[in-house]
Amino acid sequence: MFRRAAKPPFCGTFVMKEIAVLKPEESATTGADLLVKALIDEEVEVVFGYPGGAVLPIYDSLFKQNRLRHILVRHEQAAVHAAEGYARSTGKVGVVLVTSGPGATNAVTGLTDALMDSIPIVCLTGQVPTHLIGNDAFQEADTTGITRPCTKHNYLVKSVSDLARSVHEAFYVARSGRPGPVVIDLPKDVLMNKHEYVAPPKVAVTHKSYRPQTQPDPRKIEQAIEMIANAKRPVFYAGGGIINSGPKASKLLTQLVHLTGYPVTNTLMGLGAFPASDRQFLGMLGMHGTYEANLAMHGCDVMINIGARFDDRITGNLTKFSPGSKKIHVDIDPSSINKNVHVDLAIVGDAGIVLEELLKAWKAKQPKVDQKALKAWWAEIDGWRGRNCLAYKPSKQVIKPQYALERLYHHIKDKDHYITTEVGQHQMWAAQFLKFEQPNRWMTSGGLGTMGYGFPAALGVQIAHPEALVIDVAGEASILMNIQELSTAAQYRLPVKIFVLNNHYMGMVRQWQELLHGGRYSESYSESLPDFVKVADAFGARGLRCDDPAKLDDTIKEMIELKHPVIVDVIVDEKENCFPMIPSGAAHNEMLLGPDDKQSAKVSEEGMVLV
């Protein structure tokens, strides 16, 4: 969960009555000033935004203060992704400010992305004055209507007297329970009317209707311990919920995994929840996960899911998903439980708190694990590991994308670094070949799979961690979706590195066309690409290019040493496919391990309709 230091987690509607409010004449300020004050009280440091008519009063208030830093992006979608990167890398709420109409609609992709990946965002949108709402006024959009399905919650503030309270509540809703984006729609008259300020409540209070459950049922902890202790072929399956819960949850997960001696796998969103270099780590699971992780999931007798949501990229064919296992599912959101996969024991609660309870109970009980069975299970897993499923054919002529990432990792591993990605093959290779030892170091668009996410997200990360090395692993197609943010990087001197694996294709699309559509590469060639080195130059960034495996190390070193935003155009093998791969509709034990495997796999008709 996301908490502010030394601040109560909440403010509720009725509480406000208990707070001494100053008389209007003593303290009355405009809505816009109140808003800025409320943001400061919520310990906001940075706002990612873009101005426009409806939010001019807010920009005026921002101008008159110096507590809040405003980062001017070049497109509102990028503002949200930047706030997501900021949030995911810090555990704080990311804040966005956009104008009405087109400002708000441009933010919709980012909001949906944050909803799918459970990222805490508060997005302030301007709105036409209340008396014009519904009149098709200039730059009017039904923002609360449009964003209702892509936010955790939203507010239309109709009176300045509700403004501060709504802001405090929005922060609470965004960061508590299963985090998510919250929109506050602010009509211009509300921003200009005057009212007294309402501070966040001093003591924690419960919201009238919204009460996420963080504490698990103790009886279920007992049952879980029993199931875990009696397992013969166990596997921990940990996801983004561990990251959402905070770094402590990762530590506790690591302890529990070590205490039991069981294997553990992470989802794409969970990478970093458990140290990748640990012997008990099986790598990522799922469609492009490792052989050992997927076969362990398929063959386990007890599956312990903590903070993962049985996404279709994980389960593949549901009817064949881990058929012989008893399943435990720990999740803060009851709607994640029994949604796709029926589980035997559901524990609703915060991952960190549940892990703490599990550890306590395990230490108190000191259960005897069947060591003989566990040894046999590890032997089986080591057999799968021996297949070396991430192996690829090295080349001296052309840079293999996997090789590029191996070399990248070699040069950054001892530096304080953060990785973001765009969407496609390069994203999957990054997940496979870069190792994450800590949480909050890996920012990727998992649920929505938004091309154009990685670069603005990297800017948000760099703002939060000015000294760190921040790298966006990109594809040449994806990077064009928010390339305008180079201007933002230049303005704020953000030395983000864009590491483009340029295969001249929408590689992920090309791969599916090769495997599923008879090699008809319809519209997936990256035609008329710009010269990325010149693009960098035009924006005041630095551009590098490398197409020779022998020179790659030098290029990477140069990239790291440059104190500027850098685009590195790495020309890689056009035809390389991302393996392992579980084709849509197939089961974990039907995965393709490499290019020579493809003949044997026939994708079913049912599989063809899946994405």
Partner: protein, 170 residues
């Protein structure tokens, strides 16, 4: 996977904060996630606390019904979600206004059947009646069915409201 794929109807009571957009949130959830709405009623039930009560009749497999309840409960302005169908005995009622036009034999027969169904006459002209009939869906349906051959011209129904039996509040 779902062990039971039989589709069943459930009557669900939802206590919500009566604020703008709440109905859109609930209805949007059903349409967005492809759930069925067989019937939906809503009105404020507690003006002091500004609370409304929604009664939804929906159909789905047990796993889907569980999802629907969890999804509803997840909405920020929702206080409580109760599945009346599984949580013990409950009563369901609906009200219909039924307009019948006709003269002579048919008019007399309509009035006679209305009496059997304890439907009230709430408007009468020389050649028409509006009946008000209340009861469970079955009864209302049957009454409307009978009126079809007797000059039925218009029907309006409230949809189901429901409550658990016994002394407990929601």
């Amino acid at each position: 996977m779902s062990k039971d794929s039989a589709i069943v109807a459930h009557t669900i009571s939802v206590l919500v904060a009566n604020e703008p957009g709440i109905l859109a949130r609930v209805v949007g959830l059903f349409s967005g996630r492809g759930y069925n709405i067989e019937s939906l009623t809503v009105a404020e039930t507690n003006a002091k606390e500004s609370q409304s009560r929604i009664t939804i009749v929906t159909k789905g497999t047990p796993m889907i019904i569980e999802q629907i309840k969890a999804q509803l409960d997840r909405l920020v302005p929702v206080y409580r979600v109760r599945d009346l169908t599984v949580e013990g005995p409950h009563i369901e009622r609906e009200l219909a206004l039924v307009k019948v036009k006709g003269v002579g034999e048919k008019r007399v027969e309509a009035l006679r059947l209305a009496d059997v169904f304890r439907a009230k006459v709430i408007d009468a002209k020389s050649d028409s009646f509006v009946f008000e009939v209340t009861g469970n869906t079955d009864k209302v349906q049957t009454f409307i069915g009978l009126m079809e051959s007797l000059g039925l011209v218009d029907v309006v129904r409230t949809g189901i409201v429901a409550m658990s039996r016994g002394g407990e509040a929601l």
